[in-house]
């Protein structure tokens, strides 16, 4: 990194350190809206030409349209900052901001490649967001998303309009299904073909009670209050700001110039052009009436964003009760059906999470000549995840306690053989202590665990294992690698 870049990063770091939590919250909203604006303009430049492209870009970057929020928040932050230099420093520090960056949540390993091609109907569904695909080892899982299916059908004109909050869709939102394929099965060993032979399991999941859904009726009053007060105030202010960009000659001149700059910019330069134009906007003198509206808008938006964050946090700490059915297709031995009850809630004022499961597994068929119970096993398990607090530049450590008790009512089948392994029925108890160490901002987590078990599925001897791993959030990693 050269010295100029280093100075810019350091200066912006200092400015950000000085920034109050309020400014950080407003900055985040601006960053998100700005990223959406940039992505949309790039989309118009790559999908439209000539006057159609120009009209679309003007529409997008205009106080009349979807982008007044970006302009207004830019002015809010400009008026909150001592100098324009600080604003440019913050903008400069965002050189690595990726337009349209996906959420950075999620953990676990994923494979970059799929063995073989995805069958066309599944591929079409994945491509249109109706289902999502993930891979772990040789198992590929497709999750059916009822709302995603609805949106895909709507985008392709199969349904005229939809809402995910009608009584029917509220019911559908509680459901999910997935199908897993083991690529080692079937005739095309190691290649994904998507045929019935490769299906290894089917899962259906239903939420009985989900207080982690922000639209649960429990939060309706909170939303009404939020929308009826601070957000209403912000909406009125924004409405009143629109015409200043037509009536004030300085602002109008800036708008026309900014639109022309965006129309002529190459797609690769849209991000820098938008950021430069917003930097210019932040330096302009504002009419007194508009300045007052901007200040009020900033206060209203801050109150709205803070209260919304609190509401979403309350929802994230809500409790869930759900049921799950899994049909596990075995090779050479009877298929298994597992019925599971899942409950999760938070404690320690929402800082920690606890989850409990109770399940029963049955044999779908009883093999002839074997004296077996229909009921194969029952399991009870619980897990508590407790954040230990932040360490600067590392992140939040998480301590996990988990335990599982399983009662095997008959001897177990050896995998892929259809043969019973003698002397394997009985009780199994497993305890695990895990510490997850994050590397902040990299998408890398290092889980270290110790597992104690009185036996395994097939061997009746106590087992103590220490595990060490590394998990990657590839979206975050790739976002760091891109220049």
């Amino acid at each position: 990194m050269n010295s100029v870049k280093l100075m810019t990063v350091m200066l912006s770091f200092l400015v950000l350190c000085r920034a109050s939590p309020a400014q950080t919250q407003t900055s985040k909203e601006l960053q998100d809206q700005e990223a959406g604006l940039i992505a949309q303009i790039i989309s118009y430049k790559t999908t439209k030409t000539g006057s159609a492209m120009e009209a679309a870009v003007r529409d997008e970057f205009s106080p009349a349209g979807p982008s007044l929020g970006v302009l207004a928040l830019t002015l809010v932050l400009a008026r909150a900052k001592p100098t324009a230099t600080d604003i440019q420093a913050i903008e400069g520090a965002r050189t690595d901001k990726q337009v349209g960056t996906a959420s950075s949540t999620g953990s676990g390993t994923t494979s970059l490649t799929t063995k073989g091609s995805v069958p066309s109907i599944l591929g079409l569904a994945v491509e249109n967001g109706a289902i999502t695909q993930s891979q772990s080892g040789t198992t590929i899982t497709f999750d059916a998303n009822p709302i995603g299916i609805m949106k895909a059908l709507g985008n392709h004109g199969f349904i005229q309009s939809y809402s995910d909050d009608t009584p029917t869709t509220r019911f559908l939102r509680r459901l999910s299904f997935d199908v897993s394929f083991d690529t080692n099965r079937g005739n095309s060993n190691g290649t994904f073909t998507g045929d019935a032979q490769q299906v290894s399991s089917f899962d259906a999941h239903a939420d009985i009670r989900n207080k982690r859904d922000p639209r649960n009726p429990a939060y309706q009053k909170g939303w009404s209050t939020l929308i009826g007060t601070s957000e209403r105030g912000a909406a009125i202010d924004e409405n009143k700001i629109v015409l200043f960009f037509s009536t004030d000659p300085v602002l109008h001149s800036w708008l026309l110039s900014a639109q022309e700059a965006l129309i002529t910019a190459a797609p690769a330069n849209v991000q820098s052009t938008v950021q430069n134009q917003l930097a210019d906007l932040s330096k302009l003198p504002l009419p007194d009436k508009m300045a007052k509206l901007i200040d009020d808008y900033g206060s209203q938006m801050l109150a709205f964003l803070s209260n919304r964050d609190a509401l979403l946090k309350a929802a994230a700490n809500g409790s869930i009760i759900s049921v799950d059915y899994t049909d596990n297709r075995q090779v050479q031995s009877p298929d298994l059906s597992t019925f599971k009850l899942i409950a999760a809630t938070s404690f320690m004022n929402g800082k920690a999470d606890v989850t409990a499961n109770a399940s029963a597994t049955i044999l779908n068929t009883l093999p002839a000549g074997m004296n077996l119970n229909r009921l194969h096993d029952v399991q009870f398990s619980a897990q508590a995840d407790i954040p230990l607090g932040q360490i600067q530049q590392i992140g939040s450590f998480v301590l996990t306690f988990s335990g599982l008790y399983e009662r095997l009512l008959d001897n177990n089948f050896a995998q892929g053989t259809g043969m019973l392994v003698p002397n394997t029925e009985g009780d199994m108890a497993v305890g695990q202590l895990k510490l997850t160490i994050p590397v902040k901002g990299t998408g890398v987590n290092v889980p270290i665990s110790v597992t104690f078990a009185n036996r395994t599925d097939l061997i009746k001897e106590s087992d103590v294992r220490a595990n060490f791993g590394v998990t990657f959030d590839l979206d975050t990693l790739f976002s760091k690698l891109k220049p």
Partner: protein, 117 residues
Amino acid sequence: MKKIAGSNFNLQVSDGETISVQISNTIKIVNQVIYVFNGSDPVLSTSQPYTRTLHKTGTDADPDPSVLSARVTFSDASGGHFRISVSGKAGEDTSVYDYDQAGSQASEQLNYILSFS
């Protein structure tokens, strides 16, 4: 109602015309939309269209241009979507715009400038 120079947000309206705004194709949206017309507002559910009859002249004349805004709140941290449609006289233009929540964006306001013919 006609789009000016193909714009979805700069619209030409007539004296006495009733315009209608409808939010549809909603995903992860709070079921309350804020509508503001020249600085005043009701709050309606997403399933109920907003309508207003515009007046160029008379004691209840509306400013020219007028500004109509519709503000939608996203209920989740990501994945929100909606469509907004604005229409007037039958047989004339309809403005249709689809919006996807950007990152963890909290809310989105669409503003329309209405100019009388």
